[in-house]
């Protein structure tokens, strides 16, 4: 923040000295009110509702676009045949054919994953198409489920209760074992492909990173389930950390997303392992200290690289001197870029121009690019605190006496302001 304006030159011992503008950090006084955010994970268990079907239909019928589609059907007397709904039937595994024209290649890594975590309670039906009432059933989804069940049956690894004796016995049916199938009857030969596309694409809504986080957090918070390798407990700890630092994670499309105090990048947080928690803590707490609930995705690259730049060489990331350095660093960002999103925009533009000078096409700036630029500015402003080696990066040297520094790709007005300012 520019604190004084001195444009005149003063004479000092016969020399003309132009005084520079001193920049200092002006704290953000904004208050963050998390109670304004509709945080799904802030709700206690006893307040969560098991919705009835009519509650769901009422909710969706209030959506104008959805309602218009329903009204279109009604206006044009378009109705749907309930007899065409697929039927549940049990079929021998040997009756199921997997058409090459429909299915993807058998994914061996995925198969190993399924078998490693195998739990019969998690099995789904096999999705099949029956053409013109013939015996053959064409699998259009759940090929990996089918394969894993068949292997376990063949290898004698599945058992069931004998209803007559009450004893458990190994299944010896082989591929005659009957498995639940969801059967679509049709005379359309291309339908297996259409159905496969719908099941795996148009008609499915894959879970996003927030959905996983939500389930992990609630599994631990409500039921004490720590999850595989304590992953659910770790997600819970991250949730607490994020809320503490005014970064309530929300799913994509949540109407409060973007408000002060929200975070839309749970996928970035999910990547932090237990050993990385001090780094995540540093990122979240530093970002909140300076930006008070404004949580731009760039914070992970900026503060993460800053943290690693010091810890990798056993230098402190706390203490009076380090705090003073952080204040100076943020004075640079706020004075010349206003905010982290604006720093990100300026970094992207500078990186693009820097690449063009090298005859390269533009790309996404590496995660430490913004940090490197700010550190270069910090040094030019007379910063005295030791800085990470990122400061020396983004310098292209086509020959020994030519150096093209990304700093020179910042707008001229910014560079002029830097040369007229001091810390």
């Amino acid at each position: 923040m520019i604190t004084k304006f001195i444009t005149s030159s003063k004479l000092s011992k016969g020399k003309a000295v132009t005084q520079k503008t001193q920049i200092t950090w002006t704290p953000n006084r904004r208050k963050v009110d998390l109670s304004q955010i509709d945080d799904p994970l802030a709700k206690p268990k006893h307040t969560l509702v098991n919705k009835k079907v009519n509650q769901l239909t009422d909710e969706i019928m209030a959506d104008k676009k959805f309602n218009k589609q329903i009204e279109f059907y009604k206006t044009n007397n378009i109705t749907f045949d309930a007899d065409a709904i697929p039927k549940f039937e049990k079929h021998k595994l040997s009756e199921l054919l997997t058409p090459e024209e429909v299915q993807r290649l058998l994914d061996h890594v995925h198969m190993t994953g399924i078998v490693t975590k195998f739990d019969p309670r998690l099995l789904s039906p096999i999705y099949v198409v029956r053409l013109n009432g013939k015996v053959e059933l064409f699998v259009f989804d759940s090929m990996h489920t089918l394969t894993s069940v068949a292997v376990l049956i063949q290898e004698g690894l599945m058992s069931r209760k004998n209803e007559q004796t009450g004893e458990r016995e190994v299944i010896t049916d082989g591929l005659d074992f009957e498995y639940p199938c969801w059967v679509i009857d049709t005379d359309d030969e291309s339908f297996p492909m259409v159905a496969a596309l719908y099941r795996n694409g148009d008609g499915s809504k894959p879970w996003g990173p927030y959905d996983y986080h939500r389930v992990y957090v609630r599994s631990y918070e409500f039921y004490g389930n720590v999850g595989p390798v304590n992953s659910y407990e770790l997600a819970y700890q991250k949730q607490k950390l994020m809320v503490r630092e005014n970064a309530v994670p929300l799913p994509k499309g949540h109407e409060d997303l973007g408000m002060v105090g929200t975070l839309g990048h749970i996928e970035a947080v999910s990547e932090y392992k237990p050993a990385d928690m001090p780094e995540l803590d540093f990122i979240m707490s530093t970002n909140n200290k300076y930006w008070k609930g404004t949580n731009d995705a760039s914070m992970f690259g900026f503060y993460g690289n800053l943290y690693q730049g010091y810890t990798n060489v056993n230098q402190p990331t706390s203490g009076k001197q380090f705090d003073a350095f952080l204040n100076e660093l943020h004075a640079v960002i706020k004075t010349f870029f206003t905010s982290m999103p604006e720093l990100k925009s300026a970094t992207t533009a500078a990186y693009k121009e820097w690449l063009q000078k090298q005859g390269k096409s533009s790309g996404t700036p590496p995660y430490n690019c913004a940090l490197s630029i700010v550190l270069k500015m910090y040094m030019r402003l007379g910063g005295k605190h030791p800085v990470p080696s990122d400061v020396n990066m983004f310098v292209y040297s086509p020959s020994s006496n030519v150096k093209i520094d990304i700093y020179d790709s910042l707008p001229l007005s910014v560079r002029q302001d830097v040369s007229n300012s001091t810390l």
Binding site: M1, I2, F5, T7, T26, N28, R29, R30, K31, E255, D256, L257, G258, M259, V260, F337, T338, S339, P341, E342, S413
Partner: protein, 153 residues
């Protein structure tokens, strides 16, 4: 305040659409906000006017607009586009004073040190006011004042 370099500055405006009374906002980096008010007027074949103008460094004005967009995302109109617009859906009953306070709170507390508000005597800004702020870089204090929080309803 000293004279300021024009190219580094931009406008943040509030608008109440004359025919529908729907409240909106936006920014323009053009020297004369008249160009922008004319665009609003031409598209509906009727004169429009800005009820508030804020002037400041481009990066701060852009950040201010980003703040309003995200903080009030749920209140934005999504009727006529796949994306939410910079118009506020009347069903939320947000009034100009609410928007003024949201903006003022951010300018004062963030703070955006270069952003100031055009004085009342120069507002509203309409299609008849081309060139009104031609001298703003020479004498910004004539046109601009510090932003203050106003009393809510």
């Amino acid at each position: 305040m000293l004279a300021i370099a024009l190219s580094d500055y931009a406008w943040f405006y509030n608008i109440i659409q004359a025919q529908t009374l729907v409240l909106g906002y936006g920014i323009t980096t053009r020297e004369d906000p008249w160009d922008r008010v004319m665009e609003y007027s031409r598209s509906v074949a009727a004169p429009q006017q800005f009820c508030n103008l804020y002037y400041g460094k481009v990066s701060q004005i852009k950040d201010l607009e980003r703040y309003v967009k995200t903080q009030w995302n749920k209140f934005r109109l999504d009727e006529f586009s796949d994306k939410k617009l910079e118009w506020l859906d009347p069903k939320w009953k947000k009034e100009l004073v609410d928007l003024e306070n949201l903006v003022a709170d951010q300018i004062i507390n963030y703070p955006y040190d270069t952003v100031r508000k055009v004085k009342k005597e120069f507002m509203p800004f309409s299609v008849d006011n081309q060139g009104r702020f031609a001298n703003i870089t020479v004498n910004p204090d004539l046109f601009l004042e510090q932003v203050k929080l106003t009393k809510t309803k």
